[in-house]
Symmetry: D2
């Protein structure tokens, strides 16, 4: 992809021979992430990488050749040719201010991320490709025996693991999720996993809310049916113990207006996690008194994820508790990638069917 809203061009390069410490994957599946669509649209990006770029960071593949010194994954599981591998796309430097002093490497000043590297060498840097070359020193990857259709959710679910850890959910709490897209549904899973005994998803359209219910949501509110935000606040509060409000709310809709509405769902001393507006979609009015100070609210931003969140996400997937593969609405060949991006930036419809999670299967 050479420019915003531009065409996707297929290029051919010789497959590299893995050097020491590297790994070559045959890509089985690569998910399309909302970030990629924002990027392609030229929305003000948070990560300001230039074009051209080879996208694709939600990658599952098979190890086809393994460089010297690569014996196990980070948890000590032996890795051999043919094993299914999940890539942790973000690679941090371990020596900058954010890695060593702030100890929050998600903001590493020298971070590299597969799927967001633009220089094209060694070429196989993103997942929308037949092969992916795991070449950056310190890349973390995980071996798994899960089916690719499940394993592909490791990275998206890790975003939710980070969000839930940042704001904390305790067993027995009432949790609301604003948004029923992939991040919203991942967060739903993770909130239930953390012990939320009542979960409410506010979103739409109804196909997505049905998915939320299949995953385990106790209650859904369709924003296309209940259009007045004050009415939604009223409904949510009625569902909470004593009507006092929710313990935790997650913003996963990516819409600025969701923020004041979501804080209004909370009880005093409730916690709010802003996880959806990872790209700049504008401003919204809030009231510092009623939304923060007198509310005694805790509002936490959650952005991206780290290898530990991926490990935890993988463990959640391994429980087999959630029929997560149902979220994949479309499996498309590489050739239909541009079509998918156009659909995901307009009407969310491919082949006459609502797109939830779209994955690309290169071969």
């Amino acid at each position: 992809m050479d420019k915003p809203k531009g065409k996707f061009t297929v290029k051919e390069y010789p497959v590299p021979e893995p050097g020491p410490g590297t790994l070559l994957l045959k890509v089985e599946m690569c998910g399309i992430c909302g970030t990629d669509v924002h990027y392609w649209l030229g929305d003000e990006p948070i990560l300001r990488f230039p074009f051209p770029v080879l996208f694709g960071h939600e990658v599952v593949g098979r190890a086809v050749s393994i460089g010297e010194g690569v014996n196990t994954d980070i948890l000590g599981n032996p890795v051999k040719i043919g094993d299914r591998i999940i890539l942790v796309p973000l690679v941090t430097c371990g020596k900058c201010y954010y890695c060593t002093i702030a100890r929050e490497p998600v903001k590493c000043l020298n971070a590299k991320a597969y799927g967001h590297i633009q220089d094209g060498k060694p070429y196989f840097t993103g997942g929308y490709s037949d092969y992916l070359y795991v070449f950056i020193p310190n890349t973390v990857f995980l071996k798994t025996d899960l089916p690719a259709e499940v394993a592909i959710f490791t990275e998206p679910l890790s975003i939710a693991v980070n969000a839930v850890e940042r704001v904390r959910v305790n067993p027995g709490e009432t949790v609301v999720i604003q948004g029923s897209g992939p991040i919203g549904l991942m967060t739903l899973i993770c909130a239930m996993e953390a012990g939320a005994t009542k979960t409410i998803v506010v979103g739409g359209p109804k196909e997505r809310l049905k998915l939320a219910e299949e995953l385990g949501a106790d209650r859904t509110i369709n924003i296309y049916d209940v259009k007045d935000s004050r009415k939604r606040v009223e409904i949510v509060r009625k569902e909470t113990p004593g009507g006092f409000g929710a313990d935790v709310v997650f913003e996963c809709a990516g819409v600025p207006e969701a923020v004041p509405e979501g804080i209004d769902y909370l009880r005093f001393f409730g916690r709010y996690c802003e996880a959806g507006n990872f790209a700049n979609t504008g401003t919204v009015e809030i009231n510092p008194c009623t939304h923060i100070c007198a509310k005694c609210a805790i509002i936490v931003g959650a952005w991206s994820s780290l290898p530990d969140h991926c490990v935890k996400a993988l463990r959640i997937l391994e429980t087999g508790k959630y029929p997560i593969e149902k979220l994949i609405s479309h499996k498309l060949p590489l050739e239909r990638l541009e079509e998918a991006f156009r659909a995901l930036s307009t009407n969310y419809e491919i082949d006459g069917k609502e797109a939830t999670k779209v994955v690309v299967t290169p071969q």
Copy 2:
């Protein structure tokens, strides 16, 4: 009960008419707690209430008469005659050093607890009785529609809710529980609820471990089969990611020797919750270097519980996810109470069957 190891005597009193702010319950079921047995045995108690005493603090009953001003439970649910009520036995003063300054009311200097009040007035102060008189101002109680066989576990489960909150369990973590008695099994439930994706129960005998597996434990280790504690440490560590050790370990065995063994299960920076030795059962040798300092361990004591833990416990029971009623091994009439205490302080066998949770059903 008039003295340690003494006889249980049935006494009859007139049923009180509830005054303003009070409530009279017809006891449906009352669980026997290990604390009661320790107390009856004359073990050095943590709570030094004198004899005589009417025991029984795990109480479920029906509201048979309601005093003026009692309209709802703490969550605003209307309470009327015939409703099933769960008692929160501990009542704190709200004004002492621990209530207002340390803000840890579980150590309230003026705490009163149903089942541990010895003065005999207004008589119906414990659950081993036909009626219980909810007379202490500020008593918290909860209305529920759950069957008594499930609701009875609210208070025991609240102990585990407190323990898990104190030490925190995150989704995706590996958790070991030492002990397969009621507290161990409650903690297992609560750790799973908090997102533990791998749970290991170390205990015995095998009937209890089978119960643990039915509740959802991934792995059990029978201490009667694996008698060498070093061997158990080895087995546990092999079950953890990379062999580094568990993220969290709960001591629910009530045996001092469990402590150093349990800390050895942990990875560096792991967390250990001491929840089992709530009564004084002696000392044990630990190594401040390898068990705490160089281990970078976090070791947390958890003791008793508060109303908020009971609310969260009730919500977990309401999910219906756990076949918790299977833990009730015996339902006995009031008359067999002394027999039950004798069994629970010796061989744990009643009517030729291993006793897990024994409950008394007064009528």
Copy 3:
């Protein structure tokens, strides 16, 4: 005071004889709090108590008579006639949802606060009076030997103790305080006490910034001199290690516009405490992406305080490290109270001198 912006009327009542558990104070000094001024102005109050009311909750007095059963303060210090007493004005019920389930009694549903009780019986309910009758059961008070001019700051400083605890300041961190009024200066003290090694106060006018420097601020920025908020952001960031931004920022200006500016001072993963907009002063535009999500910010509301914060505030005052009595700009007799309120709601000038902290000395 009988209505918003109304007159202050002096009324005379017989001095009560303290009943069991109560205490009568001769008021030595009572501070005027910004909340009182908001209240008097008829601003949308957070606490919706009706008029008429006897204000004054920052009270220091001498015990002149002591009811039966009052022997010590909450820390066990003996209390006898003539002792100097600091009142903790907020009294919570210990049994509502917020006291027992949410465990955040600052939002007690049945809270009573001296200085905000309107029914006029037993009359001596606020500090703008010769006497104050400590009559609400569970009232917490503290004995002290500090001069009244220092002790009077216990309650205002407790607000800052709460704020600093809510957001946490670690030794070695860089902290910015927005606002140089009493709350800002209290927060400055408390942030230094918590280990902030660099403190920056953004406020004005210059007399107040000079006070900030006398208390220990490392740097001040006068908003009357640097009027462009982008410029202020630039200056603050230059003062932080590596220019990455502050670790913690406190909003103590009570101006909605301070919020987005203050968040811009922060580094990624920085913490923001909204402590100033305790009364409703309107809305402001924020960007959920750049201010919360991609910023990975933690934003915490802090409102009012509890007895434990007062104890800690008193201990900080007892260190004698801060020349806090310099903050008292005016000591006025009761008769000049209305004049003081008018000044504090307009030009902050009394007797031709900038008003920082104004106190009333009844006798």
Copy 4:
């Protein structure tokens, strides 16, 4: 040094020319750490590095030549020849399980630490040398203008910063420190910096307690005078608010017996930090009930430190509040190193004077 309790041999090597990303320091001063003495004595080490070894990890030096690409320290301060540099001795790999998954790099599986590298190449790997070659990629160092006598405490103080962060100290709390050696005194400073309003140091001999008082301790207890540990518990508790016990206790004595005594100082829900037994000095009996469970204690191990703790330590030193240079009892030339080690492992006396902190000044 070639073997435990062996001789120190001076060897000469050519001074290296710094390659890209490296730095050569002329050592101004290097502190002797208790760990080094344990190591030299052949005590069971936590870090099992073999001999021979060049010790010395508390290093301050001047940059004498600077490799390509080294322009600033981690905080962006320009570094040029002649600048005073503080070394952060521990260098972590950024890619192992503890660095990326547990996110506790202090337990990095591939950690390297200056002063603990035994292979002898590139030779200048420890601080007991004229030069130190900063050659490990990712080494963090800090520029400072503080005198060497103050800057030398950065690393020791960072140990205390870590300890205080691990267990947290809030403004207004009562803190006890067990031990008046360098770690105890550093922890005293750091606890005061974190807002402890009452600090009690339990240790000896009296010269060290005098130092503690000069640094700001409110109370000291000499263990040579008060030999009965129950008596010391009694004295400490009397000094705490209400006699309930201390909020936080730090074990910095490195004696196993200190642990149960120290926990007895605590109030219910108090916090205990085990920071002194970093080397294995044996076991001690504790009571899981009274010391942990019924105590509701939080017991935390703190071990070593990371670059962020060094940055915070440096900022505390820069405040100039603590006359820390008084802790240096002896400045010795390299030639007297062995003599110093012998003294520090026996009677703590050099040149007829009690040794507190001994530093070596190579030139």
